[in-house]
């Protein structure tokens, strides 16, 4: 049957009773899927926030180094810049304000590394010292390492929480889908006795569970999406200004649709499994020798 014919048939049947009777598990699917989608979507937004925060930290601290010049004359600064700009592994050099506690006359150059590894610090110090006496290159390895480690840990934490929420939500949807499929099992068996194919009966039994999970999931994800968008418009987005804003950015908004689709798929698989089990082995309902 073509897609158009299917749609026409579905429209003609819009007031017909569902193929299989509703039951408590099927009824529970929509609110549970809404709650699961709410949690999953928030956790997903948290995962993205952690990702953005970690990336910003890595970009900000992961490639920062400095050169301190004991003598801050224009000539010393120009010489040091020339050495740095001809060193592989250094992306940019710019003057920076010396720390308040530094002695008078000291100059500081902010160095952006091309990669977190940077150039060989010892070799660069030797070249700098030969060109500008008293110049010291510092890649801040001691304090950069824990910051980068914390960025990685934050990223793992965010995605880990999103994964945990996804696993638990999908497990709930699959279990409720299974229960809904089992409820519809006797009706599916009756449909087979009346002439439905095994595949058709399983489809009739599983579809309502998938739709309920999809609708509940869309409600939960929609609430989160609307809430985050409204909060951003009103200027009090959670985490805003800390680098950990929950509000998705760009294509991440489309990712909010992942939870309803995944929940529907999970409930559908569970319901199909239970309905197939209720119908018995394929050979029994699809035909056997008399």
């Amino acid at each position: 049957m073509s897609f158009g014919a299917r749609m026409a048939r579905a429209w003609a049947e819009r007031r017909s009773a569902p193929w299989t009777p509703p039951g408590p598990a099927r009824a529970a699917l929509a609110p549970c899927a809404a709650a699961a989608a709410l949690t999953m979507t928030l956790a997903l937004a948290g995962g993205w926030a952690a990702e953005r925060w970690a990336s910003a930290r890595e970009a900000g601290f992961g490639r920062a180094a400095t050169v301190v010049l004991a003598e801050g004359s224009e000539a010393a600064i120009a010489a040091a810049r020339e050495v740095l700009e001809t060193t592989p592994g250094i992306a940019a050099v710019a003057p920076a304000a010396p720390p308040e506690e530094a002695e008078q006359g000291v100059a500081v150059l902010a160095v952006t590394l091309a990669s977190p590894e940077g150039p060989d610090a010892a070799a660069l110090n030797l070249r700098l010292g030969a060109t500008v006496p008293g110049a010291v290159y510092d890649d801040h390895a001691e304090w950069r390492r824990p910051l980068l480690a914390s960025a990685r840990a934050g990223r793992r934490l965010g995605w880990g929480a999103a994964a945990a929420a996804a696993v638990s939500g999908l497990a709930v949807a699959a279990r409720l889908g299974w229960a809904a499929g089992a409820e519809a099992g006797p009706a599916a068996a009756l449909l087979v006795r009346l002439g439905a194919t095994r595949a058709e009966a399983i489809r009739r039994a599983a579809a309502p569970a998938a739709w309920r999970a999809a609708l509940g999931g869309a409600l939960g994800a929609g609430l989160v999406g609307t809430g985050l968008a409204a909060a951003r418009s009103a200027g009090f987005a959670p985490g805003a200004g800390t680098g950990l804003a929950l509000t998705p950015e760009g294509f991440a908004w489309a990712g909010l649709a992942v939870a309803p689709a995944a929940l529907a798929g999970s409930a559908w698989l569970g319901a199909r499994g239970a309905a197939a089990r209720a119908l018995g082995p394929a050979g029994v309902t699809d035909g056997r020798d008399g």
Binding site: R9, A12, E13, R15, S16, A17, P18, T20, P21, P22, A187, L190, L191, V192, R193, L194, G195, A196, T197, R198, E200, D286, G287, R288, D289, G290
Partner: protein
Amino acid sequence: MAAIAFRGVTFDRGGRRLLEGADWTLEPGEIALATGATGAGKSALLDLCALETTPEAGEIEVLGARRADAALRRRIGRAAQGPELMPHMSAAENVALPLRLAGLAPAARTAQAEELLAWLGLPPARAGARPGALSAGERRLTALARAAAGGGDLILLDEPTGDLDDDGTEKVAEMLVALAAHGAAVVAATGHDAFARRLLRRPEARPLRLEAGRLVGRGAA
């Protein structure tokens, strides 16, 4: 071609031998009234006729098929001893289920189902009620109407008059005769003597007794 052909069928259920090398044929347009003591195997005989269970030995051919697939089931109208109705559907929707599976449009199948139910004595007002709101007799009529609705070539009924009064019994007998007149083969298992006597007055009906592992009656050897 016979609607049902048993050739040397041996069948056990629950450790008891119900049939032993039975041969039997039923032609289109014939009604076989299966009778026998309680536990003689009347319901099991219907399962065999629907190819829903496998005999220990022998061969069964139903409407030219030896396998029960969806195509064969669509040609068989069946009403079990306990009416198996969808609880969330009205009586008319239950009757129309085989027509819905066949792809008939809602209005056409509802009209057909209501007509069939009205003919059996269930008025349109009751046809809209769900099984939970129907009496046992009305549920029975609904299941029988559903068995007939598909226009099957073979009708298998288990205790079709179990919860029916005299009028209902008469209507069911008329329905079976009408179905046979349209070329359907009918097997009805019954322990209801009045129904059996009434039906056996008709030339197209014949008794089929299950006795000690044998099928006794016209068409059985």
